[in-house]
């Protein structure tokens, strides 16, 4: 079929992800709890009824079609939008806890020509620890160096941020979150505009975060990648939460139908799942 949306999900992948999530759950406490979150613009509620939790080292995908409210949810979590409901990070209420959130901005959100180096960007993550007026101390420089080494960007520390590739730039922002000592990292569409090699790079860096116990929340609309690479998923459509849980548990025809309408269907063949568009597009040569 010419336009099959994506690939094949093996049951083994699901099982591994679920086992990992279960392990994390048993080993660690929630680092972030979101309860009945709602927010919007100009009286219109863009998202509501969002409830989930993140545990240390967990990787959770926010999955939904364009306009589902993924970016709004991120803005609320980061503290850019006023919201109702409760967000707490490591037991602290959201007012005090935003500094524990690191985020990797979308490519277009950052001025690529700005005169800052990789080192400068990662050092920005230390601003709270350094304090007003003061200059970075030895421990700040050690933290920045450590963060850059962990994501493999230490050799490029003197490069201007605009000289980097898309994948390298995202690694720098992940290093900034590590230097910031963030408990939770938000990545808004980290795979848009990067090639397959850069995608692999980013997943390697995400593995570093897992080792560090940093919980990661990624917005994506790549359904198959989300199922194979993330521990849990939150299905979102029209600002409403459809389901939250391990991919195998929530990838049901009902949930997918509620999230994506009739555009996607899920088939099970033995141990394998196949995701296909329910109404495939026809190329001219099909006729």
């Amino acid at each position: 079929m010419a336009n099959i949306l994506s690939a094949i999900l093996t049951k083994n992948n699901h099982d591994a992800a679920r086992e990992f999530a279960t392990d994390c759950a048993s080993l660690s406490e929630s680092v972030m709890t979101v309860h009945d979150l709602a927010c919007g613009y100009n009286g219109y509620r863009a998202i509501e009824g969002i409830t989930f939790d993140l545990r240390a080292g967990e990787r959770v995908g926010i999955v939904g079609p364009n306009g589902a409210g993924k970016s709004t949810l991120f803005k609320a979590l980061v503290g850019l939008l006023p919201h109702q409901g409760a967000i707490s990070i490591q037991g602290a209420s959201c007012k005090d806890s935003h500094a524990m959130i690191g985020y990797v901005p979308q490519r277009e959100a950052i001025d690529q020509t700005f005169p800052v180096t990789v080192w400068d960007v990662v050092m920005m993550g230390r601003a709270r620890q350094i304090g007003y007026i003061l200059l970075p101390r030895k421990q700040d420089r050690i933290a920045v160096r450590g963060a850059l080494e962990r994501v493999g960007m230490w050799p490029l520390r003197k490069r201007q941020i605009g000289e980097l590739s898309g994948g390298q730039r995202r690694r720098v922002f992940v290093a900034r979150a590590l230097a910031q000592q963030a408990s939770v990292l938000l990545l808004d569409e980290p795979f848009s505009g990067v090639d397959a090699a850069a995608e692999t790079d980013i997943f390697q860096v995400l593995d570093v975060l897992r080792e560090e116990g940093v919980a990661v929340l990624l917005a994506t609309h790549n359904l198959v990648q989300a199922a194979t690479h993330y521990d849990k998923l939150l299905l979102l459509t029209n600002g409403r939460m459809i389901a939250f849980g391990a991919p195998r548990d929530i990838y049901t025809p009902q949930n997918l139908g509620a999230t994506f309408g009739d555009r996607i269907a899920l088939f099970q063949e033995g141990d394998q799942y196949v995701l296909v568009p329910d109404k495939p597009c026809h190329h001219e040569d099909d006729h």
């Binding site: 985020y103 400068d120 709270r128």
Partner: protein, 294 residues
Amino acid sequence: MLDTLNSWFLDPLAYPLLTRSLEAAIIVGIISGVMGTYVVVRGMAFFGDALAHAILPGIAFMYQRTNGETDELFWGGLVAGLFSALGIGFLTRHEKIREDTAIGIVFAGMFALGIAMISRIDNYAGDLTHILFGQILGVSEADLRLITIFALIVLALVALFFKEFMIISFDPVLAKTLRLPTEFFRLLLLVLIAITIVVSLQTVGIALMVALLVTPAATANLLSHRLLPMMLIAAFIGALSSVIGFYVSFHQDVATGPAIVLTATVIFGAVFAVQQAGQGITWVTLRLRDSASH
């Protein structure tokens, strides 16, 4: 030859008035370079130009009140500058009005008010020229004192909050997650730019102010990819342009403001041309090497 060079440099300094003017021009060159760095990296050239024009009603008001005494113009300009900067900041705080639109509204309104006020003053033409194009030879001792004090305040605040200004300029979202008072620092930056403009008014005047903010910093941007070195280079180029412009003005009988701005423009042109030539040579060398290896 040496004597000629000596007299070329030293002749103007024999007059206290000219020494004062040179000192003022150097100070203005330095702080314009420093604040101009923020103007360039934040894409605020229009804001700088607009704010320079928006201080006109404050100057016209003080001019009327003091019957043409220039010493008090500074304070009128400062109040109008701060009012305009904070007004633009207030209008754009929720992003309901685009920043360039808010700037256009405040700038045109304030400038029109200033022109209207000046048009009611008899024999205003000559003084208006000084306001628009600068009158560096009119720098009094009191003026120089004010310029020095406010320049030191601007430089001290930039040094103290360098890190915070860099974060809010590069990544305002990070600033919010770190719970920095983003709005406070944004307004403080606008106020510091307003002070810089008022301080520089006597040197280059309203019409050319934006060049002093933008050109040295843009030149520095070609030479550095880090904020602090860019700022230091911009300050150096600003001061150098002031000194060269001052001497050119004295010896060639050209108005000082335009001489300073033209010097800054020539320095930018030279740096840009050298960089382009360097890139061209690199490109040709690589091509030649490629064709030799095939």
